[in-house]
Each structure stands twice: as C-alpha cells, then as structure tokens.
C-alpha cells in the first residue's frame, strides 16, 4: 500500500506544481486547438474523413510531446531528481506518478481537442474515444520514461521527439485503425497490448534511468 501512497503523494505534487505554475496545460491546449484550426484550413473540402482522423492523431501526439518535454522541468532545473532518488520509496513510483500527472494533462487537452475536432471535421464515435484513452496510457508510460532520459541531456527538446516518435508509431497505427476501420476492436487490442508491455518495461527500467 505504501507504494501507492508514494505515487499519490508525488502525483499530487506534480498536479499542484502545474496548478501554480500553469506551464504545461495551457501550452498543450493552445497548441492542439491551433493545430486543428490549421488542419481545418489545410485539408481540402472534399477530403475523406480518413485524412482528418490521421491529422487528429498527429495533433494529439505532438501535443503530448509538448507536455512531455516539460515533464521533468522542475526536477531538471533544480536538481530535484537527486532528492527524490534518495527518498526511501521505490523509484518506479516517481515514474508512475509523473505518468499519471501527464495523463491528467493530456486528458485535459483532449477534453478540448476532441470537441474541437468534431466541430471542424466530423463527429467522434465511441471507438475513437476508446482508442484515444488507450493511446493516452501508452503515450504517458513510454513518454515519461523517455522524458526522464532526455532530461539529463542538453539537447532534451530535440532528443525526446527523436526517441519518442519511433516508439509512438504503434500508437498511431492502433489509434487511427480504431478510429477509421469498421470493426476496430483488434486495433484497440493492439493498443492494450502495447500499453501492457511498455508499462511493465518502463516500470522495471526507470530505476536504471535515474541512477548510475
């Protein structure tokens, strides 16, 4: 139980920091809405909804990257990861808490993005929402680990997308598939398997990312 208490303590801290600093969520919201507006004008009138769904996923992935780049900003700028690593809690709790906070930020951005997409392009069905929910989990578990790795680098703004985008390809395939294919259940399955596999890998490997 103490593991989840630690996760709750750390996630609460991240949410409180965002509530005070408002560094991440407003930027994500503005970006995703601006991207959808640009896509709305860039896509020809007669384009199929398939193309629009593809662009939705592009907007969501890049919005997530925007948040992930800042995920460890406070820890990086003030050397705080040392203090968290020294605490007697399981180090994977730091990753899980950060991933949960990122998930909350991403969901907030999508609460605006999905209705905006419905206004600019076409309605959102249940399969798309399920796809987005499963994709969010994958984005946050993988993205948070990579954000911690990139945080140690000087070129973190460049490094994170370079590391994250190849690993996000299955998420985009699963998400677009769930959105546009008639019976998209198997794509949801793909996303669920991806989430499960990467959650285990990231949970087990985070300790080695934050310690020498």
């Amino acid at each position: 139980m103490s593991y989840f208490t630690d996760v709750a303590t750390l996630a609460r801290k991240d949410l409180l920091l965002e509530l005070r600093a408002r560094d991440t969520v407003p930027a994500m919201l503005l970006f995703v809405v601006a991207a959808l507006v640009v896509f709305h004008f860039a896509l020809p009138e007669a384009s199929a909804s398939l193309a629009a769904y593809g662009l939705l996923w592009v907007a969501l992935i890049f919005t997530a990257i925007l948040g992930l780049v800042r995920a460890f900003a406070a820890e990086r700028d003030q050397g705080l990861l040392d203090a968290l690593v020294l605490a007697p809690c399981d180090r994977s709790a730091i990753w899980l808490a950060k991933a949960l906070a990122m998930l909350a930020f991403l969901v907030l951005a999508e609460l605006v993005a999905l209705p905006a997409f419905a206004i600019f392009f076409s309605g959102i069905d249940g399969m798309t929402i399920a796809g987005v929910a499963l994709a969010d989990l994958g984005i946050c578990v993988v993205g948070t680990l990579l954000a911690a790795m990139a945080a140690a680098s000087r070129a973190r703004e460049l490094l994170l997308p370079l590391l994250f985008l190849p690993l996000a390809v299955p998420i985009v395939v699963g998400g677009v598939g769930a959105s546009v294919v008639e019976n998209g259940g198997r794509y949801l399955g793909l996303l669920a398997v991806y989430d499960a596999i990467f959650a285990i890998i990231c949970w087990a490997s985070f300790e080695y990312v934050v310690t020498e």
Binding site: L16, A21, Q78, D82, A83, L86, P88
Partner: protein, 194 residues
C-alpha cells in the same frame, strides 16, 4: 560507517576523483576541503549513492533513507511553500509525525513565519535554511553536507553551528567546506582533496 579504497570517478575524459582512501567510523565528523573542482561534491554524491564510482571500492553502512543530503542546489520545489516542501519529503520518508517535526524545524531555523510562502520567493539564505530543514527532517544518521554555510548570514552561521553541535552525538557527518575553521571544534578528521 564509510570505507573507501582507491575510489576514483571520471566524467567522460575528466578525472574528478583519483584514488581516494577514506575511513569514517560511526559518529565521526569528517571535514572535506579542497579547491573548486577538486571533487568534494562528487565525493558526497558518491557517498549518497547518487553516482557510481568509476573504479575502487566504496561501502556506506546505512540505508539511503537514513542519509540526510544537503547539496549545492537546495533540492526544493520553488512553486511549493516551505511547509508543502517539507510535507512532501515527510510523506516520502514516511515520518509518522512529519507535520509536527516540520513545524519544529521551521521554528528552529527561523522560518516559521514564512511557512506558507513559496520557496521560490525566498532569499538564497532562507532557501539554505529550508534546505537544512529538509536534510534534517527524517532524523538521518549520516549527514552529507555540501557547503552548509553557503549564503547564510551571521545569525544563520551561528544557528547552524549550534545545530551541528546538538546533532553531533550519535550521527556521522561528512561536510565539504571552504571554511574548515568553523567546523574545527566538531571535526574528528579531515580530508584534503587536491
């Protein structure tokens, strides 16, 4: 408590520590001196387990949860208040009555009045006092202090000297400083890094 044999650390091509031997018994007070870049901070980070030695052997006989670490950076969230910062660490270190202990430390270090102010609004000296509260919060048995007198005013220096005297019995200290004279009465040994 701490035993090091031929302890070396490199960062890439840069040699930071070279073949350092160290014996510090439980209850000892080691003052580490040396010019900038001589490896004082790296030695403390090695003892804390934050970095691994490149070569050599290092044994620290305590759990990481029993280490109090005062670093160059205060290791505090600037957007959280003084009390919220200590509350966070109190929970992570599972201190049963962390609120009472936080209050007591803030009082002792002259920050009780500022407990609900964000750490980011503190002066460097106040930040250092709060960082000391954080390092002492869980009643550590091994204290690794990197330039503890940094940024403290005359009152702060006196206060810290008194605190160190009070804390001295039963605890082990490794203190990196440019001003060893202040710690002379407490020191049981010294290590000069070149």
């Amino acid at each position: 408590m701490i035993r090091a044999r031929s302890l070396s650390k490199r960062f890439g091509d840069k040699r930071v520590l070279e073949r350092v031997d160290l014996d510090l018994d439980r209850g000892g007070f080691l003052v580490v001196t040396g010019p900038n870049g001589s490896g004082k901070t790296t030695l403390l980070r090695l003892c804390a387990g934050l970095v691994a030695p490149t070569s050599g052997d290092l044994r620290v006989e305590t759990d990481r949860g029993r280490i109090g670490f005062l670093a160059h950076d205060p290791l505090l969230y600037r957007e959280l208040t003084a009390l919220e910062n200590l509350d966070l660490y109190g929970r992570l270190y599972r201190i049963p009555e962390h609120r009472e202990r936080s209050g007591m430390l803030l009082e002792r270090f002259g920050l009780w009045r500022n407990r609900n102010e964000r750490a980011g609004s503190f002066s460097r000296g106040m930040m250092q006092r709060l960082a000391l509260c954080r390092a002492l919060l869980h009643d550590p048995e091994l204290l690794l202090l990197d330039e503890p007198f940094n940024a403290l005013d005359a009152d702060g220096v006196q206060l810290l000297q008194r605190e160190l005297e009070e804390l001295r019995p039963g605890r082990t200290f490794v203190v990196a400083t440019h001003d060893p004279a202040r710690l002379e009465p407490l020191a049981s040994g010294s290590l000069a890094l070149a």
